[in-house]
Point group: C2
Chain length 414, copies 2
């Protein structure tokens, strides 16, 4: 989200500054990206490693997310596609074209192998992350017995208003970068490679990351004007990552060890209604002050919320149904999630309002005991539900990182 | 379009760096922004001046554009709204909240006067530009005799596929900034101020400016992967601005002198089909090389196209229906336009493809003799039409800048 234009930055901190983190072993994230280089345009995040990049990577400023339906019925074609995607994705995260001489240096009589719109742009900390939806594990590809027990069809939550055309999908790909054109280019070229084998089911563009994922990132604000994600799991919280994010050997299945589960929710915010509520009411609904983002009763954003402190008349300062209480580990048997969402504004709703909100993306180790109970609590009790509407939903198993010589999701086909 | 995160830049080049340019007199743009400061997050573009900012201002990286229907039938309410908007817009372009103590410092029992999501963000070179559509000049507000003759209802062009829900509008507001959250915040707060008096008709988010508007900006690429806007009118071209952009006293009407006309076209690009054409064909359709962006037959991007040079067999290197020939001043009796468009990606089209393209915005002095003949030529002859689809359209009279003590469009009501 900007500053010095990317082109000017090519020589700024040196092209090819590599970010530590993505290649580190799951559960061992001492490798914090240096604040000086983490977000410069030239930054490159390693594609290969024990875990996929784009989960604990410092949240970039922009996201393009796509959900795909697989159209081929051939297991071999699916495997070939995953191999081709892996090559292209690794190249693009290194700031290269999707294929060598892809845009202009190849056979001029043939369609270019790269679409070209990122030709002059640096890597911009691009990460590309893949996930597999429940529907991939049907009869088509012999994957039925590979479906993780935890990869449930998400239940219908109270007040859900899901659009099937904005929900689910066989495969999801999340591209995050500090330049939206780089993220869009990545998704577009992967879709192009998949032509005839996959089709776009839905896609979402996001800006203004709504969660920080490392301690040195400032907490951004969502479209309600509040800081969002203060208590998020950070890349430095290795114990939390182990306990709440990464699938372990004991969890299984084998092919998913070092992976995680991604939940996406397109949350339309009825900002016009929110904007007509008083500051006091907004702060009570959230449980934090709007300016500083401090828990009610505390002074500073990062003060621990005191869920017991009472104000005048013995009423808890952080109300019984305040958002941060309902979503707190204290209220959810210790459950935490790693959030990595973005704001969106998608034109208008046809009723005189902007269609804006939060594209919620979270990673957890078992959605059945983490995301689902959290969303159950929020959807039944949270006053914030009066102001939001869940219009899209997805659940995907995110395989571990790609080792040298391997390809995305290869464990699935062993 | 990124680089160093905005927050880190607050102390980078000094907060409050003001951009020259917007306040200069129409037709006298010697005041080129310094390349060192033009795009830093802290940059502020003066709101008031003889012309509106956001036209010759160095193109920022992001845009949020909205078209509004006026719902009140009261001329006085419309005037009040324009006055309130002017105050809020000037504040926001200075990096302030829409109202003093707007987000958190006011009466906590009342709805905040600023929605808060830009609280921690610098001005990001925000510009906010207003325009008035033909429909504003009907019977409602006594403006019938103020309608400029040149503010025509645009003709239907061959192959137009316009969606009424993405076209026209009584008023347009263009917000451009180097941080999308700043641009979205600006539009949202103006819409909020107008609640009950205006309603959102359509809105469009854009990234990756597709035209440079000053000589020191690199030419960006559109979703076809080509550099776009090489021959655009630049802020330094004072003669071209005078001849092709600014409404003069002789042109009239009086209230629009120092203003211009804005044409918007939402151009869906069928990128999947484009991506299946050969490099040679793409370059012949455009008339430029894809890599360097040089006119065919030349070596460098900024070489003047030679429309007469012939290749083997006496066939012109730049074909008779190449895009850059059809759109050239040479083919259009000298007509030029100032382009200031953005790329977009709006989810998917429901048919398995991304809904991506170009949100074309152009400024000209008389759309009847500039944009219209250009689009007539392109829509009837240009092979590129096989790959694009115009899905939205707008035409707006853009009033001159706001003087000290004045308000947006005040000349209309004298």
């Amino acid at each position: 989200m900007t500053g010095v234009p990317r082109r000017r930055l090519l020589g700024f901190a040196g092209a090819g500054v590599a970010l530590a983190g993505a290649g580190a072993a799951a559960g061992a994230f001492a490798t914090k990206a240096s604040p000086e280089v983490e977000n410069v345009a030239a930054a490159k995040v390693p594609f290969r490693g024990d875990i996929q990049a784009g989960i604990t990577t410092p949240a970039q400023d922009h996201m393009h997310f796509v959900a795909l339906d697989v159209k081929t019925k051939s297991r071999d074609e699916l495997i070939s596609l995953l191999k081709e995607w892996t090559v292209a994705a690794e190249r693009m995260t290194a700031g290269q074209e999707a294929a060598e001489n892809g845009a202009v240096g190849g056979n001029a009589e043939a369609p270019p192998k790269d679409t070209g719109e990122a030709l002059d742009l640096p890597a911009s900390a691009l990460t590309i992350t893949i996930g597999f939806g429940p529907s991939l594990f049907d009869d088509r590809f012999g994957l039925k017995d590979k479906r993780p027990e935890r990869l449930i069809d998400l239940p219908r939550f109270p007040q859900d208003d899901l659009d099937p055309a904005r929900s689910n999908g066989d495969i999801c790909i999340q591209a995050c970068a500090n330049d939206p054109q780089v993220a869009v280019h990545a998704i577009r070229n992967l879709v192009r490679i998949g032509f005839g084998r996959v089709a776009v089911r839905w896609s979402q563009l996001g800006f203004g990351r709504t969660s920080s994922t490392t301690r040195d990132q400032a907490t951004p604000r969502n479209m309600f004007g509040f800081k969002d994600g203060t208590r998020n799991i950070k890349a430095e919280d290795t114990d939390h990552l182990r306990d709440h994010v990464w699938v372990s050997k004991e969890d299984g299945p084998d092919w998913l060890v070092g992976g995680t589960y991604l939940v996406s929710r397109r949350i339309r915010m009825h900002i016009e209604i929110w904007d007509r509520t008083s500051l006091v009411e907004q702060e009570q609904i959230v449980g934090r002050t709007k300016g500083e983002g401090a828990p009610l009763g505390q002074a500073n954003e990062f003060d621990e919320p005191d869920l017991h402190v009472k104000g005048a008349g013995g009423i808890p300062l952080i109300g019984e149904i305040a958002h941060i209480r309902l979503a707190s580990p204290e209220a959810l048997n210790g459950a935490r999630i790693l959030r990595r969402g973005y704001n969106f504004t998608d034109g208008s709703d046809g009723l005189g309002h902007l269609d804006a909100g939060l594209f919620f993306v979270a990673f957890n180790r078992d959605s059945r005991t983490q995301f689902v109970p959290m969303q159950q609590a929020l959807s039944t009790k949270d006053d914030m539900m009066e102001y939001v509407e869940h219009t899209g939903s997805g659940h995907f198993a995110v395989p571990p990182g790609v080792k040298e010589g391997g390809f995305w999701g290869e464990g699935l086909f062993r």
